[in-house]
Amino acid sequence: MRVLLNQLYRLSSAAAAICLCVIAGLVLVQVFGRIVDGTLRALGLPIAGITVPSLNEIAGFLFVAATFLALAATLRQADHIRVSMLIRAVPLGARRVLEGLVLTIGTMLAAYASWHAVFLVIDSIQFNSVSFGVIAIPLWIPQSALAIGLIVFAIALADELVDVVFGDGVPTYQTHEEAKSDIIQRPVITPEEAERGSS
């Protein structure tokens, strides 16, 4: 089960990363095409006309997919920001209660959002919604990425919740969260050294 879940999160974030690569690739092809055409025109030659049709729309869709498919991994690596002042200040028992509380709220919100994202996809299939561009892309395809990403996110939140309530009480992101602020706050000069410098 554990292995399966980790695999799910990894797969989802890898798909998100690939979406970003595809955006970069397509935009570069477009820019390259424009440079080639500009050069050809300057030389008085016929243009090659390399363009990516509907690039604006496709890039937007890929961006949505990249965002939502990465949600779970972002949570687990503590990259979603929050105010952790209170949660880190209270004693261990209270901390567990607080983590449990925010994870419960989070799981409910994500599940609710997933539910309605699925409806969005079903609507698009029923009404045959397509994008407006040169290439008419059925909207359910990018919207499915949104729905799947939210579902994986809800699973990841529930996973952490189970860990906090029934497991060791420590969510996966906690070590990352603490490591992050420790890196930022690791001392570089001691006050004594600094004083010596100033005298």
Binding site: F63, T74, Y112, Q185
Partner: protein, 435 residues
């Protein structure tokens, strides 16, 4: 329920949600749901799904992951290690000498990173020990670091300006160009102050090092220079109308990869780490934007922003007073929130009010970033001050005291921006394309 009660209730709910440690993006959505459920009987879930989809499905926003990715690649190409070595030889001749490395280093680094806490931490970890070793007064060393950690956020490609542009539907290209002059103005103010301080406090400065020949200086900067050229080229092509922000950013990613390949730091591992890091940071910011978009729509249903705007109109508050009040409000928020969260949290509520007062939204974006960054070093509490407290072991009041002159310079810069709005608006007006 009266609209005042509703506003108070939603405000309190937001504070509680954030304080408990709920993720910012989820807190925004939770309050939005609460607002819609109380104020109206529209189907919440449908509004939520269509808003999120409609907002994020945008060509303009694709510039966000591209710029973040470019920054991630440059981070991993030894940029921070090269920064001190590359800048120091050039600064020896100026009054204030290596203290300027803090200021310029932060400016360049923030241009690629977009987070003031990360900038302060990275530059500080490298520059503070060097400055301390060479006998610079730690008070001024810490002060320059605290101040300049914030200023580079105006220098494009600024992530926080993309966020503002996306949240308020303003042109990201124009915002970028609008940030150039105010950013340079602040850097000049900071460097000028440091130079004057150094001249007046000769006794607190270490002995001067002998100047370094030009060729050696160039050799020391050879790895830093391409990065600076890359940033200039990205901004230049947007200004000249040659490329949209997304295109400039994608080319930026490509060039950053080549730079890192040339410097021998491009490995399969560093590539994957940069890509995954960019995926997650972009996801975090985009998800906050999605929550903010939903909150904006929810606020529209509750009519709170409109009421606020007309209330401001009835009070006949002058724009100056309004800006002063907003400044205070942001400074309070800056005690516990980072810049991006402040921007998205407030734009959904205050932008109608600001526009009702006749303030240009592009100008307001620059003003907002300036004030938000000021809020990060406001004595006695601010996000950046915490970072420096952790790094130097000095308590936050001391750090705030050292940073105070730079805080005052930021206030001065903001006042100048208010008195002369052209500082931000002149360059966008001369842009070659009206994208």
């Amino acid at each position: 329920m009266g609209i005042e009660m509703l506003a108070l209730l939603l405000g309190a709910a937001m504070l509680v949600a954030l304080a408990l440690g709920l993720w910012v993006s989820l807190a925004l959505s939770a309050v939005a749901i609460l607002g819609i459920v109380i104020a109206t009987n529209v189907p919440v879930g449908t509004v939520m799904a269509t808003t999120i989809w409609g907002k994020l499905n945008s060509w303009e926003l694709t510039a966000l992951p591209m710029f973040i990715w470019m920054g991630e690649i440059l981070f991993r190409s030894r940029l921070s290690q090269d920064m001190f070595a590359g800048l120091a030889p050039w600064m020896r001749g100026l009054p204030g000498r290596l203290l300027h490395v803090n200021i310029l280093g932060c400016t360049i680094f923030a241009a690629v990173s977009g987070s003031s806490a990360a900038t302060t931490a990275t530059i500080g970890r490298m520059a503070l020990p060097e400055l301390s070793k060479r006998g610079y007064d730690p008070r001024i060393a810490i002060g320059t670091l605290a101040g300049s950690g914030t200023l580079g956020l105006l220098i494009p490609p600024s992530i926080i300006l993309i966020v503002y542009g996306a949240a308020t539907e303003q042109s990201i290209a124009r915002l970028f160009i609008a940030g150039v002059l105010p950013g340079i103005m602040l850097a000049v103010l900071f460097m000028g102050f440091t130079a004057i301080w150094a001249i007046m406090n000769r006794s607190r400065m270490p002995e001067a090092d002998p100047p370094i020949p030009l060729m050696e200086r160039l050799a020391a900067t050879r790895r830093l220079l391409p990065v600076i050229l890359l940033i200039v080229a990205v901004i230049g092509s947007i200004y000249a109308g040659l490329a949209s922000p997304t295109e400039a950013a994608a080319v930026g990613v490509f060039c950053a990869l080549i730079l890192s390949w040339l410097s021998g730091t491009l490995t399969k591992e560093s590539f994957t780490q940069a890509l995954l890091g960019a995926t997650r940071t972009s996801c975090m910011i985009a998800f906050i934007l999605a929550g903010a978009a939903f909150l904006t729509v929810a606020m529209g249903y509750t009519r709170i922003p409109r009421e606020l705007a007309s209330w401001i109109g009835v009070m006949e508050l002058s724009p100056y007073l309004l800006l002063a009040a907003l400044t205070l409000f942001f400074i309070v928020l800056g005690c516990f929130l980072d810049g991006i969260s402040i921007v998205v949290l407030t734009t959904s509520i205050i932008l109608p009010m600001v526009q009702a007062a006749g303030i240009d939204p592009i100008w307001f974006g620059i003003f907002l970033v300036l004030v938000v960054e000021m809020s990060q070093i406001t004595p006695p509490v601010g996000f950046n001050l915490f970072v420096i407290q952790g790094m130097t072991g000095r308590n936050i009041f001391q750090v705030a005291l050292y940073a105070l002159p730079f805080f005052c310079l930021l206030v001065l810069g903001t006042v100048l921006l208010v008195l002369f709005p052209e500082i931000a608006l002149w360059l966008p007006e001369t842009m070659l394309s009206n994208r």
